[in-house]
């Protein structure tokens, strides 16, 4: 075997460099982030927190929630609505597809609703890669200059990720309730506090409906109605690929480029030695035995 000359070493170096630049072009060799589609298993937790903002002349607001402690705090502002909900599995695949939510807030003839803040909580599960469980919320805030009779919302409950999920295992980081219903303190039911704590999460859900519809013209004895249809769509979820998934995609790139380089480099090597481009000294490999003997002596 010919010894490695300086030139040969350099050529080899360049080739290896080229090899790796080609491999790591654009996305690089390793798959660092990937995504998949899944329809989440969403269930409405039947937790509601409602604040209805009234017109100025009647002052203040009306509030109600499914949390007894919150209701106790409201005093005169408490007004119990009629809430009816239904979750529908349209394609009968075992996963709910939408929530029909209707809230009728009885009002006196002098009360006028100008704005609404509503929190609905959901349990949200992803299954395909990592088993991800969280309790999330849909926050709806809408107001209008004219006193309303009905608010119609038709939107999607979308997943928002700040960081990719992991590729396996159980993830219950956010399996904590959005509203601490056991707490007797007013602070725990403060909307700013609830939203601030919720937005701190890396994974949240939001209600996407840019244009809630206000219907105006409420008769004196009619209640204020919130009519919401919330859909649970299929989500594209980004995640960090696991070790074997990275290897699966990497080795194909590695081998395919390596084969070409090996072939090209082989040709160059042959050309160099056959045409004696550099001075080469043929050296015969000494038998192992002799070397050993020599060393002994």
């Amino acid at each position: 075997m010919p010894s490695l000359t300086n030139l040969q070493f350099q050529v080899c170096n360049i080739v290896i460099q080229q090899f790796y630049t080609l491999l790591s072009a654009h996305e690089g060799l390793w798959l660092k982030r990937s995504s998949y589609e899944e329809q989440p298993t969403v269930r409405f937790q039947h937790q509601v927190l409602l604040v209805a903002l009234l017109g100025p002349d009647h002052g203040g607001f009306l509030a109600w929630s499914t949390f007894p402690a919150f209701n106790r705090l409201q005093g005169d502002h408490l007004r119990v609505p009629l809430v009816s909900t239904r979750e529908e599995d349209k394609n009968q695949d075992g996963k709910m597809d939408m929530l029909h939510f209707k809230l009728e807030l009885p009002l006196q003839s002098t009360e006028h609703v100008l704005g609404v803040q509503l929190i609905l909580t959901f349990s949200y599960r992803l299954h395909r890669m990592s088993t991800f469980v969280m309790q999330s919320m849909a926050f709806l805030q809408s107001s209008f200059a004219v006193p309303g009779s009905q608010l119609y919302v038709n939107g999607d409950l979308r997943l928002q990720q700040k960081h990719p999920l992991s590729c396996g295992g159980l993830d219950v980081r956010y399996n904590v309730s959005v509203i601490n219903g056991t707490s007797p303190f007013a602070r725990d039911y403060d909307l700013t506090h609830i939203v601030a704590a919720y937005r701190d999460r890396n994974v949240t859900t939001v209600l996407m409906d840019s244009n809630p519809i206000w219907l105006v013209g409420r008769a004196a004895e009619a209640p204020f109605v919130i009519n919401a249809i919330i859909r649970y769509p299929v989500e594209v979820i980004s995640y960090l690929p696991g070790f074997w998934e990275m290897i699966k995609f990497a080795w194909i790139q590695y081998v395919s480029i390596l084969l070409i380089f090996l072939w090209v480099f082989e040709r160059i090597k042959r050309f160099v030695f056959q045409n004696q481009v550099v001075t080469t000294i043929p050296v015969t490999i000494m038998p192992q035995g002799e070397l050993y003997k020599e060393h002994l002596s």
Binding site: R79, T85, R86, H100, L107, A220, E221
Partner: protein, 637 residues
């Protein structure tokens, strides 16, 4: 791919402009670019008298020098004037042609024939029209020297058919041809089409009374239509048809109206018609700026305006309005007074209108009766009123007993959103929840429990000064309604007479013994109605049935000494689906599997598309076969 049509025209027919042009046209097809060489050869060879045989196009390989680009100036070698006579033999073609040599090809508008028989732009007689190159009033020999351009139509128009110039190297077409620059700066090779069939509009069609409509419908599309349509009245009403009414006092035909809320305001749309056989109820709101006036003047508040007319039995009655045979009077079920303003109160205002209409097939409406709900309104600056309108249709002489049982909630299985049926004694009714009034106090009105819809509601109850057992009784009554439901219907079509179609409601009152207080009164504060339901029957036609229901009361103890005046009550209804789904068929992945069950995905796609993508699946199979072959070959090596 080869352009066969190129080789086919027999040489003897090349002479007409039409066929010749077709030749050029063929070239524009993208497939034929490869044939360009052949075309050039073709054009080159013809004048030299060498006729290509369609069978041997390849025999005419050009030498490189033969193939030259079209001359940049754009003109051409063109061309003997194409008379209508076919091209006879190559030699004779040069015999008597009018050679056209366009001189300024680039901008194309050459004033070849300044005097036109009809000058389309000569609009002002006796005056020179600007830029009208054919206007004789201008007395210009060379109008283009004075005008900046010539209006279209003021020079002889000609129809050119063009192809991209790069497709043509040389033209030996006998017809006038030119190279123009189009608006995009692309050079176009154009041939003057000299064929009356192509150049002129086809001869006008004769229009007369018989074919006018046919032509209008054949060539016309959507257009404006006048809304006024005259139609003879149909012999009888069909479902959904508006119902005709007649006011004998004013001899006016109108429609039976069912005002409905419309638009964002929910205001009453007065003229919303009622549909024949469509029993429905509508609700809408009315606002009054000045109730003192409206109270007696507004017909919408006056009961009389809802029955001071007759209803036409069948629309055909329109033709003979004097004949009362075709008319049915609206009968009053109960007396309804007209609105009356007494002091600050407007009395007898219509808040609800219920029409009961009996029909008899194609014989139309047999009987119409109306009943009213009335209320009093206080005169305030901005008063509003909600009105309810209900129209019920019933078959004529249908036994009233049958109609008393009320509508089914499904047949047999419950339909989501229909009332949940309950039975007290022998009387069937729908299960209800509490509802609160505007001020939060418990309302007399109750909310119907809908099947499959979870609901919560509550209200405040003012406590009267009564003893404990009376208090308990009153609150229980408020929670579950006047009478406590004992049974719930298993299916939506349960018959009150058939006891086995009903299941007993499990009721659990609160545990009194747990309280260690003698002077206390234990009162229920909430009722939770739990309904377990499931689908039965075929999976393709599931029927929902109630498996069981339970009343769960929760209690609170109040001390007699405490001055409790108000208690908050809550009612909740929960539907729990306990359906056991059958195992999915073999081969279908389960929802909780994490295996890569899409391994054969491409195959599945290919085969499931079916007939419409035969080609796709064929090529896929081919690729798969090649792969398998390749693998086999590798193994044998």
């Amino acid at each position: 791919m080869r352009c066969d049509s190129f080789h086919h025209p027999p040489p003897t027919r090349l002479g007409t402009a039409e066929t010749h042009f077709k030749l050029v046209g063929v070239l524009t097809a993208p497939m034929c670019i490869s044939q360009l060489m052949l075309l050039q050869v073709f054009f080159l060879m013809v004048p030299e008298g060498v006729w290509l045989q369609p069978s041997s196009p390849s025999g005419a390989a050009p030498t490189p020098s033969d193939v030259g680009p079209a001359s940049p100036g754009g003109t051409l070698q063109s061309s003997s004037e194409g008379s209508e006579t076919p091209w006879p033999v190559p030699g004779i073609s040069t015999a008597g042609p009018t050679v056209v040599t366009p001189s300024a090809p680039e901008n194309g508008t050459v004033d070849l024939f300044p005097a036109l028989p009809v000058c389309v732009c000569d609009l002002t007689p006796g005056t020179c029209d600007i830029n009208c190159c054919c206007d004789r009033d201008c007395y210009l020999l060379h109008p283009r020297t004075v005008f900046s351009f010539c209006l279209p139509g003021s020079v002889r128009s000609s129809s050119w058919m063009c192809v991209d110039n790069s497709l043509i190297f040389r033209s030996n077409s006998p017809f006038p041809s030119r190279v123009f620059m189009d608006s995009g700066g692309v050079r176009q090779f154009c041939v003057l089409v000299n064929n009356s069939r192509l150049n002129y509009f086809q001869k006008l069609q004769k229009v007369n009374a018989t074919n006018f409509q046919a032509l209008a419908t054949e060539f016309g599309g959507e257009s404006f239509t006048s809304t006024f349509q005259t139609q003879s009245p149909p012999p009888f009403y069909r479902a959904g048809d508006p119902i005709l009414t007649y006011f004998p006092k004013w001899s006016v035909i109108s429609l039976l109206r069912q005002p409905a809320g419309v638009g964002a305001g929910g205001l009453c749309a007065e003229s919303n018609p009622a549909g024949f056989l469509e029993s429905k109820s509508t609700t809408c709101a009315r606002f009054f700026k000045n109730l003192t006036n409206s109270c007696t003047l507004d017909p919408a508040l006056n009961a009389a305006s809802y029955y001071n007319f007759t209803v036409l039995k069948v629309p055909r009655g329109m033709t003979d309005l004097q004949n009362t045979k075709f008319q049915v009077p609206v009968t009053l079920v109960s007396q309804a007074g007209s609105p009356l303003l007494s002091g600050n109160i407007c009395q007898n205002v219509v808040s609800q209108v219920i029409y009961e209409i009996e029909t008899n097939g194609t014989f139309g409406i047999q009987k119409v009766s109306v009943s009213f709900g009335q209320t009093n309104l206080t005169v305030e600056p901005d008063t509003s009123l909600q009105q309810h309108f209900l129209i019920r249709f019933r078959a004529f002489q249908q036994s009233t007993v049958a109609s008393l049982t009320g509508p089914r909630s499904g047949n047999p299985g419950y339909i989501v959103g229909k009332p949940l049926l309950a039975l007290t004694g022998d009387k069937s009714h729908s299960m209800t929840l509490l509802q609160s009034q505007g001020d939060g106090i418990c309302s007399v009105k109750k909310h119907e429990v809908q099947f499959g819809v979870n609901a919560i509601s509550g209200c405040k109850l003012r406590l009267k000064k009564v003893d404990c057992s009376h208090l308990q009784q009153e609150i229980y009554q408020t929670l579950h309604g006047k009478t406590s439901p004992e049974h719930v219907a298993i299916f939506g079509n349960a018959d009150p007479a058939q006891k086995r179609e009903w299941t007993r409601i499990l009721s659990r009152n609160c545990n009194v013994s747990a309280m260690h207080c003698t002077s206390c009164c234990v009162i229920p504060v909430s009722l939770e109605i739990q309904v377990l339901w499931a689908y039965t029957g075929l999976q393709s036609n599931p029927q929902a049935h109630v498996s069981g229901a339970r009343f769960l009361y929760q209690c609170q103890s109040i001390k007699d000494s405490q001055q409790v005046t108000e208690v908050a009550l809550t009612t909740v209804v929960t539907f729990v689906d306990i359906t056991q789904k059958p195992e999915p068929p073999r081969g279908q992945p389960r929802i909780d599997w994490k295996l890569p069950f899409d391994f054969f995905f491409p195959l599945k796609i290919a085969f499931s598309r079916g007939v419409d993508s035969q080609k796709g699946s064929a090529s896929l199979i081919l690729i798969l076969c090649l792969l398998v072959l390749g693998v086999l070959k590798l193994e044998t090596k």
